[in-house]
Amino acid sequence: MDNSITTQTITFKVFRFNQETDYLPYYNTIEMEVTSEEVVLDILNRIKWEHDGSFSYRRSCRHGICGACAIKVNGKGVLACKERMNDMIELFGKELTLEPLSTKRAIKDMIIDKEDFWVKHEEVEPFLISHVDEHPEDEHIVTPQEAEALLDSDLCIQCGLCHYSCPVVEINEDYIGPAAFAKAFRFNADVRDEGVDKRIEVINAPGAGVWDCVKCFECAEVCPKEVNPIEKITKLHNQVFERGDALNNVATRHAVGFAHSIKKHGLLDEGELVRYSEGNIGVIKHVPVALKMFKKGKIVLPWNMPKSDKLDEIQKLVKSSSTVKF
């Protein structure tokens, strides 16, 4: 292996803002020699030490554990202390933009106000709820299998990378967000926990809960700890149905409608899915678009609905393999 240290000249565009003195943010352009051994945090340090002592950012552990150093490089969320500069250069080239996780929440330079993250976190009761016997006769043992059921959701370091990469968080301020959902799953999946009812109520709420996730997988992609929040969100959906807690609304019917359609045609009946999900009155708002689509030959009428070959196989499978009821 070639261990020699190489050096490249990189141009950084660095986001600068001071809530107390600046009306608008601006960018500093700084050129630096970057060696192949450096990580993004080394660059933040050098900006402060070599260029401007007032440059501000958070860091603490320098070992990918505290979650403080999360920022964005060319829009990609990274833990500054873990991300190698060489990988960033390979990905984005020799001009790199350093920004805080969320520019609209910037307080000073890379430092953001993470309040919404912590508020959402608190909403899901992120702790073990259990009636503890203060004088137990035995240890309370969690088996390795039971611990595995957490699916690594306990590895979260609350860095906020997923939360501030989630497009729904950006648009809908009620949305609880991937990190808090992963946390809800983490405690729901804990055999010792007794707080599932409350958490399900929170994550099941229309407009704020799991039903508003657009399934973009940004959270899974960005997480430095491979927590895979979207996988946990799917599991929370499953918990809601399995416990019989699904509300009868457009979001739940949107999922259930697929099973109905597949049972009938093998394929999805698109029009019927919208009607079933929205109800006979709610569906009316879709009529204008449906008419435009109809004119362009984009709507299949019920009597022309295509069917899968060997539909009987599919129907038998829907019967034999269904595990939940709605």
Binding site: V168, F258, A259, L268, K296, V300, E313, I314
Partner: protein, 290 residues
């Protein structure tokens, strides 16, 4: 190289609201001399919603679809990002969990003793079949109508990029495949921020505002970078960008109108297919430049 052959999983959309997508798939395959066997037995993949309701049922149905491709001993191609991801996720889970695979296969055997998920077929989006198997250089040599007068904005779609470990190799932060395809067709690829972002399709019913803003951002991004039209490999993204432009425009406070083509239609145009073959009349936002 022998003739390329694939088992095509069409998905539901191509059979219903985006007929132009199926037509153009066949038109392009014919031009490229690719043989396609359609998996007419296949069911809906559940479109990332069925698994929220019933994960096991979703696995069984997707395993059945893949099993039919395996019967032909062929790579399965998909023409929808979400079909691709659901099928690839199923494959990944079954291939890495023998116990789960056995449970799924037991269900399949009950309805048809010949039906078994083995894990022998690869699954890839037609986009990557064209790029990786057919080859861009070869495609370029077949272009008869270069799209040289157009600025074309690629819209990749989430389920074509993320999670990257289940995808074909594009880096989700700097994807290039669709850009490369545009260039191979003679067009100019447009850089814009939303090209690898989400269109919001999957929450259109339960969170229409979120969905409309995401679509609006994508259309705006492309328009503001002077795109003449957009191109996408996903029929769901297509539905969103093509049929919902009005809603999206209202959500972001601006009129947004830009034609959106399917990846196959773009390739078909460059290869000299007629607009009838490519189903260009089936668009809500008119394709007015052909």
């Amino acid at each position: 190289m022998g003739k390329l052959q694939y088992a095509l999983f069409t998905g539901c959309t191509a059979k219903e609201s985006t007929p132009e997508q199926l037509m153009s798939t066949y038109a392009v395959a014919k031009k490229l001399d690719i043989e396609i066997i359609e998996l007419t037995e296949a069911s809906c993949c559940g479109a990332s919603h069925l698994q929220d309701y019933d994960d096991f049922l979703s696995l069984v149905l997707n395993a059945r679809n893949i099993a039919y491709a395996e019967k032909h001993n062929m790579t399965m191609i998909t023409i929808c990002n979400t079909c691709q991801l659901n099928t690839a996720m199923t494959k990944h889970r079954l291939d890495s969990d023998a116990e789960l695979k056995a449970r799924v296969n037991k269900k399949l055997a009950e309805v048809n003793p010949d039906l078994q998920y083995k894990g022998t077929s690869e699954i890839k989006h037609f986009l990557y079949a064209i790029i990786d198997d057919f080859g861009l250089d070869k495609l370029k040599s077949l272009v008869t109508t270069p799209l040289s007068q157009f600025n074309i904005a690629p819209f990749y779609g989430c389920h074509n990029l993320r999670p990257s470990e289940l995808q074909a190799g594009d880096n989700p932060y700097v994807p290039t495949s669709l850009d490369d395809l545009i260039i191979a067709c003679g067009g100019a690829n447009v850089e814009y921020e939303e090209k690898n972002k989400c269109c919001g399709f999957h929450v259109e019913l339960q969170a229409p505002h979120t969905a409309a803003v995401l679509t609006g951002n994508a259309l705006m991004g492309a328009i503001d970078q002077n795109a003449d039209w957009m191109v996408t490999p996903c029929p769901l993204c297509h539905l969103k960008l093509d049929t919902q432009a009005d809603h999206a425009g209202k959500a972001v406070g601006r009129e947004l109108e830009i034609p959106v083509l399917h990846m196959q239609q773009m390739v078909g145009l460059a290869l000299g297919c007629s607009k009838e073959e490519l189903g260009l009349k089936h668009h809500v936002t008119d394709v007015n430049f052909v």
